[in-house]
């Protein structure tokens, strides 16, 4: 329980830092922290498999990709430049409005919920079973999507400028 609160707090702080830091490299590192804390939240919610996927794919894969991209594109000392555009104030207002609206909407929706109980078995087994039975086709399609994205990325990034 306490762990959950801790992870949530870290996640929010890291998320805020991701969007407000000036140095894009630092942003990427805080994004890694954020993703790790989200993985922590997943573990606390008995989604062990998902937590591991999160760490493997996000922290292990996407963050590395992003770091590469940052290093390849920031020859200019971008840390000195203003990193946000002029619609900052408006954007803050709209986002606060949206967040409060979503929360309020959730409060107004009647939901039957249970209290927190740790599940000793975890959900990995049921997840695996579902993935290979009911959701086998979407699973395979997802792999095709990944393959296509892979090829697309190679084509896009590999082409030499004209």
């Amino acid at each position: 329980m306490l762990l959950l609160l801790l992870f949530a707090a870290i996640a929010i702080i890291a998320a805020i830092l991701v969007v407000s830091m000036k140095n894009i490299m630092h942003c990427a590192l805080f994004l890694a922290l954020f993703l790790l804390s989200v993985a922590g939240i997943f573990f606390c919610l008995d989604a062990d498999f998902l937590g591991i996927v999160q760490i493997l794919v996000y922290v292990g894969g996407i963050i590395v990709l992003i770091l590469f991209a940052v290093m390849l594109t920031s020859r200019v000392s971008s840390a000195l430049l203003e990193q946000t555009n002029e619609q900052k104030g408006l954007a803050i207002t709209a986002c606060l409005l949206l967040a409060s609206a979503i929360t309020a909407a959730a409060f107004r929706t009647p939901l039957v919920t249970s209290f927190y109980t740790a599940d000793p078995e975890g959900t990995t087994r049921s997840t695996g079973e579902l993935l290979l039975t009911v959701y086998a086709l979407p699973f395979e399609i997802a792999s095709v999507v990944l393959l296509v994205a892979l090829i697309g990325a190679i084509v896009l990034a590999g082409k030499k400028g004209e």
Binding site: L90, C95, L98, A105
Partner: protein
């Protein structure tokens, strides 16, 4: 075989995919890929067509595509006699055009891309034909529009071509706007988009009265755009900037016929609403007449054909409006053959003579025998001389008009007369007489002349074959019933009108009984109106009003110098036209147009500021809108 009809559209799509991705490596081979795919489609269509001739039943597959609780969308296909005829028309013309293009587009730097676009177009057109619901129809409708845009602007280095592409696309959007509202309305009232189910809802009375009429007119808006009916006809003449085979395929035989097909496919709307079908009928007949008058004065070979297409489309639309369901579709079929032939013949002329202006041509028949003979056959067909195909279909159209309303019939017959006249004016000026300028014409290669010959044969026999034992009637009919009785009077009057038209044309251009330019000198103002296409373009587009008027003035003085180009029949309708001219010129052009254009300009100036080009600004508006929507939904309600 019929169960596999859905494969037909996807073969050209496969050709498109291969050509667009591997076109650079394939080069010349791309043509054969396209032709192979479309040949397979054509053979399948042929099999389906004969299955229906043999009495096959309508076949519909409607699998569920999207399930939103109470609302379910199907995404299937529907094949019946009408579909089989359209499949034949589309695949055959597309096949011939692709063969023809081997010669015509030879040496073009974007040759593979051209075949890719043709494949895309054929795919979307075939999808449109087999669609079984409004949603799928609309999607393929837009796809057809996109491929037409790509093909009109194919030579985009030429400014006029890219402009024409844009004009076609934007003009069509006006019609599509109405079409989409009509679809939403039908969906809101019937809860389904499937053609059969909507028809059922209408027969049950779920959709009736003024709502039905409005829905019918809104759906017809789509047809007005695609089939270039007045007042959205302006894009079609400009669309002639595209490669000529494209004009033959898209802007003569198939895509522009999509509007007619739409009205036919959704005929249950019009059959149930006399008011909506009256709108269809009067739009059609007005367009038929209006476009024919413009064809009298045009001097560009492709533009004459374009106006003639608009006019003939008006004919088909009118036929549907007056209740001649079979007649309209019949005319669509025969027209597809002979108009494609005319365009391909014009392409051959342009290819051989390297000019499009008929005032520069003349005497080409000596050098281009095959082209001349096939062109002549097509002219006879469109003029409606028996036993050519145009005669049978035009006759049925006129018969339907005769039974519906006499004024419409009279105007339709008069239009038939004008059609015969301007087609033969074109023919005589191009192929007979003395050569006016120094050209070095030569006959086109076989890849171009063979499609011409195939189409010529079809133009001769298609009409006759289809009336044998009411074959066409049995394939394409709205409801079961006896065929309309023939009317000998109608037949003879229509033949007489055509013969008089041809006679007048030959009197002027062959026998010189009436001096060339006689009517133009006598009625210069009318000529000016016609050559300026009734000022409709100016009406729409203030930004070009000045250049256009300058051009008009220059054209006018140009005409005054040259004893050439003619407006001949307008003397007969002098009174009507001068009145219309007055209304257009004084009240509309000078007054309302400027006002409308000013409003549009200042309005778009304001709107332009919103278009910053920064995605984040757009996204901000999106988020703000979403936030507002949530707030309104949860706190104000």
């Amino acid at each position: 075989m019929i169960n596999y009809a859905y494969i037909i559209p996807f073969l050209p799509l496969a050709a498109f995919a291969v050509n667009i991705f591997f076109g650079k490596r394939l080069k010349g081979v791309s043509a054969y890929i396209g032709i192979a795919a479309i040949s397979a489609s054509f053979l399948m269509s042929l099999a389906i067509f004969f299955a229906f001739l043999g009495g096959a039943q309508k076949y519909e597959v409607n699998p569920e595509w999207l399930n939103l609780g109470a609302v379910k969308f199907g995404m299937g296909f529907l094949v019946d006699g009408m579909t089989s005829v359209m499949l034949i028309v589309v695949t055959l013309v597309s096949l011939l055009v692709q063969i023809y293009s081997i010669g015509y587009m030879h040496g073009d730097p974007r040759y593979p891309r051209y075949y890719a676009y043709l494949g895309l177009f054929t795919f979307s057109m075939l999808l449109l034909v087999i669609a079984n619901n409004f949603a799928m129809m609309f999607v393929s409708w837009e796809l057809v529009g996109v491929s037409s845009y790509l093909l009109i602007g194919f030579w985009y280095e030429k400014k006029s071509a890219s402009d024409a592409g844009r004009k076609a696309f934007i003009t069509n959007k006006f019609g599509d706007f109405g079409f989409s509202i009509g679809i939403m309305m039908i969906f809101a009232l019937c809860g389904t988009l499937n053609f059969g189910e909507v028809a059922e809802a209408i027969s049950k009375g779920t959709l009736s009265g003024s709502a039905l009429t409005l829905a019918g007119i809104l759906v017809f808006c789509g047809a007005i755009g695609k089939s270039a009916q007045f007042p959205l006809h302006v894009w079609l003449p400009d669309a002639m900037e595209g490669p000529t085979p494209v004009s033959a395929l898209i802007h003569a035989a198939t895509m522009v016929a999509a509007g007619v097909y739409l009205v036919a496919r959704t005929y249950f709307l019009y059959a149930a609403s006399p008011a909506a079908s009256a709108v269809v009928a009067y739009t059609g007949i007005f367009t038929a007449f209006f476009a024919a008058t413009m064809a009298l004065a045009a001097t560009d070979i492709k533009r004459v054909l374009a106006f003639s297409t608009v006019s003939q489309l008006g004919y088909m639309i009118m036929a549907l409006g007056v209740g001649g369901f079979t007649a309209g579709m019949f005319h669509l079929t025969t027209h597809a053959f002979f108009k494609a032939l005319l365009f391909l013949g014009a392409g051959s002329v342009i290819h051989g003579a390297a000019t499009q202006d008929i005032r520069d041509m003349g005497g080409l028949g000596k050098h281009m025998k095959i082209t001349m003979v096939t062109f002549f056959i097509a002219c006879l067909a469109i003029a409606g001389i028996p036993p050519f195909s145009g005669f049978y279909s035009k006759d049925e159209v006129l018969l339907a008009a005769f039974n519906y309303s006499k004024p419409i019939y009279i105007v339709a017959t008069f239009t038939a007369f004008m059609t015969a006249f301007y087609m033969f004016r074109l023919f005589f000026r191009t192929f007979t007489g003395e050569m006016r300028t120094k050209l070095h014409p030569h006959e086109s290669p076989y890849s171009m002349t063979i499609p011409l010959m195939v189409l010529a044969v079809l133009s001769v026999v298609a009409g006759w074959l289809f009336v044998q034992g009411h074959a066409f009637e049995s394939l394409v009919h709205f409801k079961e019933g006896a065929a309309e009785e023939g009317n000998a009077l109608v037949v003879w009057i229509s033949i007489a009108a055509s013969v008089i038209g041809i006679g007048l044309a030959s009197a002027i251009y062959v026998f010189k009984v009436v001096p060339d330019g006689f009517f133009r000198n006598k009625f210069p103002r009318i000529h000016k109106v016609l050559i300026n296409k009734w000022y409709v373009d100016e009406f729409y587009d203030k930004t070009v009003i000045k250049p256009s008027l300058n051009l008009a003035r220059r054209l006018f003085s140009f005409d005054a110098k040259y004893v050439d180009g003619a407006v001949n029949l307008t003397g007969l309708v002098n009174v009507i036209i001068s009145k219309l001219h007055n209304i257009f010129d004084k009240a509309a052009v000078d007054g309302a147009v400027n006002g409308v254009a000013d409003v549009a300009q200042s309005g778009s100036g304001l709107l332009r500021k919103v278009q910053t080009g920064l995605v984040q600004n757009y996204m901000f508006l999106l988020v703000a809108g979403a936030a507002l929507a949530v707030v309104v939904f949860f706190f104000i309600k």
